[in-house]
């Protein structure tokens, strides 16, 4: 594999982009990779949150219109990502983390497509509430995969596999702690608010099937 990588690294495109005295060139490709990510992952995550019940009054059908923006973001990422790969093929193609990142992104793209086909291709006249478990499972998977993709992407900046592992595990632990604490705080805040209002109709039911958020 090494000769192929060395050849890739010696191509005109690779050497030009890598050795350019213009600092803006490499950094701008990197910036486009981030901008594409912001719109692709951002809109995808916002839609996933809506599927999970955030902003329930947002009608689902018109959200379909945002999908092209998402895919344009993905296109930006694919092109800039390919250029970044050509600049340092040996670094990336010998890194386990890079393959993890690719697999995770492929999974996220697949889930976004699946969610689109299930929920947005032929939108329902009235949105079911709550949405089918299959839709919600896809939304959770999308959010988890995006978290993993961002982390794996950030980790490509490190050369040391040991540091990468440590950081990956720490990110997982910190994320889980934040989610649990956030969930508890939101629940606590909600019950304090309903208690202060003294309105018995808005009390969260105790059998776990919460309809009031």
């Amino acid at each position: 594999m090494t000769p192929v990588l060395e050849w890739l690294e010696s191509t005109w495109l690779s050497t030009t982009l890598r050795d350019s005295p213009n600092v803006f060139l490499y950094r701008t490709i990197l910036a486009f990779h981030t901008l594409g990510l912001a719109f692709f992952v951002g809109i995808s995550s916002a839609i996933a949150l809506r599927i999970l019940g955030v902003g329930r009054i947002v009608p689902l059908a018109p959200l379909k219109k945002f999908y092209p923006i998402m895919w344009i973001g993905f296109f930006f990422n694919a092109v800039s990502g390919l250029l970044l790969l050509i600049i340092e093929p040996t670094k990336f193609l010998t890194m386990v983390d890079f393959y993890v990142k690719l697999v995770v992104i492929a999974g996220a793209v697949y889930c976004n497509r699946a969610l689109y086909i299930r929920r947005f291709r032929h939108p329902a006249a009235v949105d079911p509430n709550p949405l089918p478990a299959g839709d919600r499972a896809l939304a959770v998977t999308i959010l988890v995969l995006w978290g993993a993709a961002i982390t794996a992407g950030r980790l490509t900046a490190y050369d040391d596999a040991n540091v990468q592992w440590q950081t990956a595990v720490a990110t997982l632990v910190v994320s889980v702690v934040m989610l649990v604490v956030g969930f508890i705080v939101v629940r606590l805040f909600g019950s304090i608010r309903t208690a202060l209002k003294g309105d018995p109709t808005t009390v969260v039911p105790s059998h776990g099937n919460a309809t009031v958020r």
């Binding site: 950094r27 910036a31 992952v41 951002g42 009054i57 947002v58 379909k64 982390t151 490190y158 720490a170």
Partner: protein, 172 residues
């Protein structure tokens, strides 16, 4: 002013955290990106709706997603605070030096300020209220569209210049 800032910008506790655990910086970077994603996903969507995309969406409903954008911004702010106060532990340069000499960081912060002022103007001019009353199919007032376009451009500028920060020159 300089001695004051030089004293307050370096936080030994944050530096110790970064020195002692190799993962702190990377975790904060990931969270910084997650915050960015939440912010752009929610605020960007509302901006695009104001500019005329997905007109069947009632804008008021879309504003229900904004708290997640605010949470995202808070994540960015908290992790950004760690980057500034703990940068000495990462690159051995005083944050005062970075803040006063890295033009890209300065540009990022400048556009961040503009995005903030833009948001303030959006509320002060009553446009936020007007947008709140936008039902399905309604067109946003022209001024609201200006704010929406400015918001998108400013956030894109913030992200662009942020990516250039490591290429900035530090002159001690």
């Amino acid at each position: 002013m300089e001695p004051f800032l030089r004293y307050w910008l370096r936080w030994p506790s944050v530096e110790q955290l970064i020195y002692q655990h190799l993962w702190v910086w990377g975790v904060c970077q990931s969270l910084h990106f997650v915050g960015m994603v939440l912010l752009i996903g929610t605020v960007g969507m509302l901006d695009l709706r104001m500019l005329g995309m997905a007109k069947q969406l009632p804008a008021a409903a879309l504003q229900k997603l904004i708290p997640w954008g605010v949470f995202g911004f808070a994540l960015c702010l908290a992790t950004g605070f760690i980057f500034v106060t703990g940068i000495y532990a990462n690159i051995n340069v005083h944050p005062y030096v970075v803040l006063t000499s890295d033009v890209f960081l300065q540009l990022k912060l400048f556009f961040l300020l503009l995005a903030g002022l833009n948001l303030l103007a959006f509320y002060v001019t009553g446009m936020a209220k007007a947008v709140d009353h936008m039902g399905p199919g309604d067109d946003a007032p022209r001024l609201a569209k200006v704010f929406a376009g400015a918001s998108l451009s400013f956030w894109i500028a913030v992200m662009y210049f942020a990516r250039l920060i490591p290429s900035g020159k530090f002159q001690p």
